[in-house]
């Protein structure tokens, strides 16, 4: 459990657009242990998908990874050549995207697309590939896979397509599975099916998972740890139960209070004033300070570092740094 499959140090990704530089990801740190599932949570535009795409180095111009390190099984992925990366992508690291319909090629059958992944990454006899595809489709719960593998993507429903995507990404026994909002485009009852499937497969395949999402409910179903992102920074990192029971960062606290919950009745929802800042010109100091209830003088001047407040619980907020403590406790 202690050895980490993925370790990200100070990852920085900028997008260079005519209007300026969008600092989409600006110094993000986290690690995922073996067979561990980490949830990366944040609102739209906070950079969580950019992080996901950076790991297999799929960021395209105008985006660029400008700093940091991505350690995967002891190797720095940023130092690898494109040819080496191609072997890793889809093989040892695989991805599941948000819109299963958009990530499949509409003119090839589901079976042939999964077969392609197997051919590229595994040394399997041609005659056995078909059987392998059938097997993996069966594992993700596609009924009568020997027939359905000959279908084209438009013949599948959204939930089945996402199952097929998961089948494709697991076909090469990856060590790390990156799932970017895998259930967002699905209905709740289908979402429940997919979450149940991912839980089961996690046990069977033993892959580490990076689950990206904005729905804390979905994240808590599957993950052991959570990293909360806000405007390109990670502001908090902790065990899943700690995040819900004892959140520390004012953003995490406010976010949890602003979501209507099924298990708690409230008269009025808590409001986070203002909106998510544009990352071309992010606020100085702590990026959350213009919206923060506990804002202090130091917050607009100095960026808070990510500090460990308890074992395994890291927070980036001046309320918990030595600089901030003299100012004001909560």
């Amino acid at each position: 459990m202690s050895e980490s499959v993925l370790k990200i140090n100070d990852l920085t990704v900028y997008y260079y657009i005519p209007e300026g530089v969008v600092k989409a990801v600006d110094g993000v740190n986290f690690e995922i242990g073996k067979e561990e599932a980490l949830g990366l949570v944040g609102e739209s535009g906070c950079g969580k998908s950019t992080v996901a795409l950076s790991i297999p180095r799929l960021i395209r111009t105008p985006g660029k990874i400008v700093g940091g390190e991505i350690w995967f099984e002891g190797e720095n992925l940023l130092a690898k050549s494109e040819a080496e990366m191609r072997k890793i992508r889809g093989g040892r690291i695989s991805m599941v995207f948000q819109h299963p319909g958009a990530s499949m090629n509409p003119v090839f059958t589901i079976g042939s697309q999964i077969a392609e992944a197997i051919k590229l990454h595994q040394d399997v006899q041609k005659s056995e590939i078909r059987k392998k595809v059938e097997e993996i489709l069966y594992k993700v719960g596609i009924p009568s896979p020997e027939q359905r593998m000959n279908d084209y993507p438009h013949e599948y429903s959204g939930g089945m397509l996402q199952r097929a995507m998961i089948a494709m990404s697991l076909s090469c026994n990856p060590e790390l599975l990156i799932a970017d909002e895998p259930t967002t485009s699905l209905d709740v009852t289908i979402q429940a099916q997919i979450l149940e499937l991912m839980k089961k497969l996690r046990k069977d395949f033993g892959a580490s998972i990076l689950l990206i999402g904005h729905d804390l409910g979905v994240i808590s179903e599957l993950c052991d740890k959570v990293a909360v992102m806000y405007a390109g920074k990670n502001v908090e990192y902790a065990d899943i139960s700690t995040i819900f029971k004892n959140p520390k960062h004012p953003y995490t606290i406010a976010l949890l209070k602003s979501i209507p919950r099924l298990d708690v009745d409230v008269e009025r929802l808590n409001i986070i004033r203002g909106t998510v800042p544009r990352l071309i010109n992010p606020p100085s100091g702590c990026r959350f300070h213009p919206r923060c209830e506990h804002v202090m003088e130091i917050c607009s001047k100095q960026e808070p570092p990510l500090v460990e407040v308890e074992k395994g619980h890291r927070v980036a907020c001046h309320l918990y740094t030595s600089n901030g403590k003299q100012n004001q406790p909560i």
């Binding site: 609102e43 709740v188 429940a192």
Partner: protein
């Protein structure tokens, strides 16, 4: 308080599918298929269901933005489908709609003042200074400062755009509002602002809402009563706490158990398969192919909505 503002009776909307050489109607999408319910003055009725179940079509047909195939909708006792054009236009002032996507429902080439003032122009309610005053009133109600008046939609954030859309809906002093997924396109931290605004407006002006959403957590927060739709039909209808704490219909039960709750790992009922196509819905109870409590008669008889407890209606054969 208990007077019904909207009464829907056996409402149906089928969309024809044309095909063949002569482009005749070959089939129909049964988007809304025999729906009846009423909404009391001042309450919020939630309409929940998965995508494609007909919630949006129902919301639009109630406002007669779409002509129905059959059935009646009474607004304060009058069937709105019998109204003449000019009568209907007057009614449009009292019934308004808030759409899902404020990025698309606001004309990018109009200023906010024009957008919010358009209902006043169309209904010739106010001109000049009077119009400006009423536009400002609407803007104030939704918490937008007057200096925004001459800006264009692209200058606003998603939450502000939705405020503009709500201000426009308020310009004609409506009584009844259909809110179709009003927060689903907004950021999580901004959603609470809009939900609180809708609640405050209701408290102050006594609006009646039909709140359409697939997000069961916000529905629970917003609504007094909830109607659950499946494939064009209402399968369960009742007070919000009854529906959430004591769901009776197997579909509602599965739907409720499927919601992931932050911080908890719940045991859930997993439904088989996915929603069938509304072009050719299953015979009998439409939910029967996916139901865990299915009996042989479910594939034959169509269940009716029956009151099982006071105000709690369920359409299911096998569970009383």
């Amino acid at each position: 308080m208990s007077e019904n503002i909207i009464e829907v009776e056996n409402l149906k909307k089928h969309f024809p599918i044309m095909g063949g050489v002569l482009l005749r109607q070959v089939a129909a999408v049964h988007a809304v298929d025999g729906v009846s319910f009423s909404i009391k003055r001042g309450e919020t009725l939630g309409l929940v269901g998965e995508s494609g179940c007909g919630k949006t079509t129902l919301g639009r047909t109630i406002l007669r933005l779409i002509e129905p195939t059959a059935g009646r909708v009474r607004y304060l006792g009058r069937n709105i489908f019998d109204l003449k054009r000019n009568e209907l236009q007057k009614l449009r002032l009292e019934m308004a709609m808030i759409f899902q996507d404020p990025y698309q429902s606001l004309n990018p080439r109009m200023t906010i003042a024009d957008i919010v003032g358009e209902p006043l122009d169309i209904h010739r309610l106010a001109k000049g200074a009077e119009k400006e005053k009423r536009v400002m009133d609407s803007m104030e109600k939704v918490g937008l400062a007057p200096f925004h008046l001459y800006r264009y939609p692209h200058e606003f954030s998603g939450g502000q755009k939705q405020r503009v859309a709500i201000a426009r809906a308020l310009a004609g002093n409506p009584k009844f509002l259909v809110a179709d997924e009003p927060v689903s396109s907004l950021d999580v931290s901004v959603r609470a602002q809009i939900l609180n605004l809708l609640n405050d407006l209701q408290e102050e002006y006594g609006f009646t809402y039909l709140y359409i959403s697939h997000d069961l957590s916000t529905v629970k927060h917003m609504c007094d009563r909830v109607a659950v739709m499946y494939l064009g039909e209402i399968v369960e209808l009742g007070p919000v706490n009854e529906i959430y704490d004591n769901p009776i219909h197997p579909y509602t039960e599965a739907l409720m158990s499927a919601i992931p709750v932050p911080g908890k790992r719940s045991s859930r009922i997993i439904l088989k398969g996915s929603v069938p196509t509304p072009i050719d819905p299953p015979p009998g109870c439409r939910f029967n192919p996916r139901c865990n409590y299915r009996e042989p008669r479910c594939a034959k008889d169509n269940p009716q909505l029956i009151e099982v407890k006071k105000g709690h209606f369920v359409a299911c054969l096998s569970k009383k």
